[in-house]
Point group: C2
Chain length 206, copies 2
DNA sequence: CCCGCAATTAACAAGACTGTTAAATATAAC
DNA sequence: GTTATATTTAACAGTCTTGTTAATTGCGGG
C-alpha cells in the first residue's frame, strides 16, 4: 500500500488543473481526474463535493496567475521605452511558463457569466494601476514629442494581443506537447518576443 | 403537423453550428441539438450517424470561413500602405460578422491533431500566397527606404493578433449576446480597428 | 487499549448521453 | 393504386458520469 494521506487534496487539485486546462470543463471527467490522481473517485466528492466546485478552486488559482502576468512592471523612472520593453518581455516570459493558460481562461470565462465577472473583478484593479501609470508616462512623452498621442488602454491591449497570440499561434503551428518540436518552438517564440517589443515600440516612436 | 421535410438536415447543421460554437464539442449534447432543431433526436443520427461526424461537417464549413477571412486582399499595385490598411480593415470586418469564430477554431483545433492538420492544410496555401505577395512588397519598400526590414510572416501574425484579440477582448469585456451593450461594443470595435491599422502601419514606417 | 474522527473504499442510484432498431408515415415513380 | 424509397418516430439498450452512502481503515489523544 502506498502512502497517500496528507495531500490527497493537493494531488487532486493538480491533476484537475492540468486536465481542465487541456480539455476544458465539459471535456474533463471527474472519474478520470480521480484515476490519474490514483485515488478513489468518491474522494474527489469527499473533498470538493461537486465537479463545479473543484473547477472553481482550480479556476481561482489560474485566474490569479493570469492576472499576475498582466501586472507588468511599470514602476520606477527608467526611460519610457526601456520600461516598455521590460514590461513586454516580462509579460511574454510569464506566459512561456504556462503556454496554454490564456486559451483556458478565454474558453472558460466565456462559458459562464459569474466566472467572467469574477475574472474581471480580479483583473480590474491590477489593470487600472498599470493603465494609470502608463497613461502618465505617455502623457509626459507626448509633451516631449517622443511618442505619438495614443490611449494607454490600446497600448496595453496591443501588448496583450501580440504576446498572447504568439502562444496561441505556437499551439496551432507546433505540437507544443511533442518534445521533438522544442527547438523550433523556442526559435519561433524568441523571434516573436523580439518582434513584439519592436512592433510596440516602433508603433509609438515619433 | 408542421412541414419539416426537405431541409431537416440544414436545420440540424445550423443549430449544431451555433451550439458547437457556443459550448464546444464536449459541452454540446446531441439531444439538445435535436430539441432546438425541433426534430426527433434519432434523425440526427439518421443524417449524420455520429456526433463526431456532425461536428466535422460543421467544422469544415467554419474552417473555410475562417481561412476566407485571412485571404486579405494584397493584389493590385496600389501604394503599399494603402493596400496594408485595406487588408487589415477587410480582415477585421470579416471577423465582425462572426465574432466568436476565432475562439471556436482555436479551441477545437487544439483538441484534436487531425482537426489541426485539416485546418493547417486549408490555411497554408492561402497564407503562402498572401505571404509571398507581402514579402515582395516589403522588399521593394525597404529598398526605397520607406519601410523597416521585417519578416512578412511577422507582419501577418501581428495583423492576425491585433484583429483577433480585439474580438476575444470584446467577448470578455462586453456581453456580446446582450443587445444592451451593442452601442458600447460598436464604439470599442471601431476604436480597435483604427488602432490596429495605425499600430501596424506606424510600426513599419521609417 | 480504546474512543472518536478523518480518510478511504466499494457498491450503488439516478440520470444523461450516444446510438440502434423496428415500425410507421410520407413521397415519388410507375 | 401500388410499390419502392426516403423520412420520421417511439422505444430501448448500453455506457458513461456525477454524486451518495454505509461500511472500513488508519491514527492520535486520553
Amino acid at each position: 500500500m502506498e502512502v497517500k494521506n496528507q495531500n490527497t487534496e493537493q494531488i487532486l487539485l493538480e491533476v484537475a488543473e492540468s486536465l481542465f486546462i487541456e480539455k476544458g470543463f465539459a471535456g474533463t471527467k471527474t472519474t478520470e481526474i480521480a484515476r490519474l490522481a490514483g485515488v478513489n473517485h468518491a474522494l474527489l466528492h469527499y473533498y470538493f463535493r461537486t465537479k463545479e466546485n473543484l473547477f472553481n478552486c482550480v479556476f481561482e488559482r489560474i485566474a490569479a496567475q493570469m492576472v499576475g502576468f498582466i501586472s507588468i512592471a511599470f514602476e520606477g523612472d527608467a526611460p519610457f521605452f526601456d520600461k516598455l520593453q521590460r514590461a513586454i518581455e516580462m509579460h511574454f516570459d510569464g506566459l512561456v511558463t504556462r503556454i496554454n493558460l490564456p486559451m483556458f481562461v478565454f474558453r472558460e470565462v466565456i462559458r459562464q457569466k459569474e466566472r467572467k465577472d469574477y475574472f474581471l473583478n480580479q483583473l480590474f484593479p491590477v489593470a487600472k494601476r498599470v493603465l494609470a501609470r502608463m497613461h502618465g508616462d505617455i502623457k509626459r512623452e507626448v509633451k516631449k514629442g517622443t511618442v505619438r498621442p495614443v490611449k494607454a488602454q490600446n497600448v496595453l491591449l496591443n501588448i496583450a494581443a501580440l504576446n498572447v497570440f504568439s502562444f496561441v499561434a505556437a499551439e496551432i503551428l507546433f505540437d507544443t506537447k511533442d518534445k521533438q518540436n522544442a527547438g523550433a518552438l523556442k526559435v519561433f517564440l524568441n523571434d516573436r518576443k523580439q518582434n513584439n517589443v519592436n512592433t510596440i515600440i516602433n508603433s509609438l516612436k515619433l
